[in-house]
Amino acid sequence: MTLRAYVISRILLTIPMIFILLTMVFVVIRILPGDPVLAHFEKNVDPALVEEMRVKLGLDKPLWAQYFDYVFGVFRGDLGKSMYDYSPVAEQIFSAFPATLELAISSMIIAALVGIFLGVQASKRYNKPVDHTIRIFGIVTYAIPVFLLGMILQLVFGVGLRWLPVGLRMNPMLAAPQGLTIGALHFSTGLYTIDSLLEGNMFKFVESLRYLFLPSLTLGTVLSGVFIRLTRTNMFETMRLDFVTAARARGLRETTVTYRYALRNAFLPVLTMIGLQFAALLAGAVLTETTFSWPGLGTYVVDRINFRDYTAIQGAVVVFGILVSIVSLVVDLLYAYLDPRIRL
């Protein structure tokens, strides 16, 4: 099918997927154990208190009405009210989201770069010791719990060498980057790296990178194993193809052949993998953020667990799910754009 048709059909497909996602979350939280409000309050509670919370959160309506409220609410951007202080969940998630986005993007970049580089090296020396080492490295890093790796890096680079900070998002002495301010117009992304560039403050930019580095390295390393494996197999196959042999025969340097021609072809599956790994990334982010006091959605979820705030967790789960759907949509579209074969 043509690109346009594919794009349209793929976007249309996302909608029922998101619906199913919302329904699934609704079932888990509202229907499975029975009543999130009662669960919040535990047994033998004053019924008046329970009713009050129910009414305040709109949970006293029949289940089907709640479902429609919930689904339409999501599309309106309303994720309900927190059980802890009745403030809008969407607002809280929105304020915590940029931090997690920054962490996710930089971790994915590190995972992809490390994975691709090591995968290329491994594919070149197939079945030699270097190949084995790299493969084992990829497998072992996946098996290490993320918080353990984070702790080790903190100790080595933070407490031991004092090169990098062990937690937080920004140097305590500095105010958070504000982004671009032209007159009354204020534009900020919430990503400290970009905002400090927009502000024109290079010191803040470098500092925000320093604070971003260890958490991203932790999460990126754990995810890199998949990329190593993928790149290794794809590069191996691609390097055997005719056009690569031809390029080599023409006397081009090996690095040019590897990175300019072969890698470009092997890149497409990596792109898909980035999309697929995004879910794992978000899961890992929950643990990484707690380890590094990174104030994002992961910390939010863990906090809300302690508050027994079911609506907040439901909102966060929905946001995570929608995020992953969007990312996989974007990746699929990009893939279709870059790979002409899929449209035929």
């Binding site: 497998i139 407490v159 979820v301 667990i305 995570f320």
Partner: protein, 295 residues
Amino acid sequence: MMGGSSTKKNMFSRLVPLLTSLARRGLAGWFIAIGLIMVIAIVVMTMLAPWISPHDPSAIEMGPLLSPPSSQFPFGTNKLGQDMLSRVISGGGIMIQVALLSVVICMAGGIPIGLLSSYTGGILDRILCLIMDSIYAFPGLVLAIAIALMLGRGVVNMALSIAVVYVPSYFRVIRSQVLSIKEMAYVEAANAIGAKGHTILSRYILPNVIPSIIVVATVNFADAILTAAGLTFIGLGVSVDIPDWGYDLTVGRTLLTTGVWWVIAFPGIMVVLLALGFTLMGEGLSELWNPRLEQ
């Protein structure tokens, strides 16, 4: 466990020829062999824990607090004076139970659905595909947190939450296999001679699907172990008086800054070994059964 040692010997005698044949299959074989050994050793150790652990793993003040590995306490003691060696020997129970249960639940759910969906085809297949894709998109730990919160703590609930996230993997793998097998000649032939659907499924398709299922199962195991550790880290683990590697990891992490490495190192190594064992098996098996790289 009655007759522990004799059962071990029996398994051993069957194991050795298996391992040697694996070793001949190159790196993939080595992966499987090593992974298998790791897993079996850890499982056996955990099962024999009540007999082989030198002290009660939950008893506090067994020795000086936070003492490094010594002859009396080979793995040292933690901050309550509990013997780390006993805790390491007994601590795998929770994780192994969670992993096993999640795999069983997953298979019980995912395999029939996958087989049914791909064999029947049509709208049912499409709808199920869509549902499975949606579930697949979920960050496992986050859904596990939501479910653990709703259903409470405990082994069964942790297993359930991991299982839900993994069903789509089985589904996909089965589906791709079934779709390719469905069109093959011998299946058509079986149809022609009047074999019923479920006969075809069980006799022709299922045996061919099993290798892929096993590969997915190993990855499922590894992920279950790591998710269980993650849940415990967040505080959704089991009661603290049950020895658990995940709990020791969480506590050990807080001690690392003071230079106390043994509380996190030994349980940490065990968790990594267990997850690694399954991952190695998965890697090796997938390479063995789906060879893509030829010399």
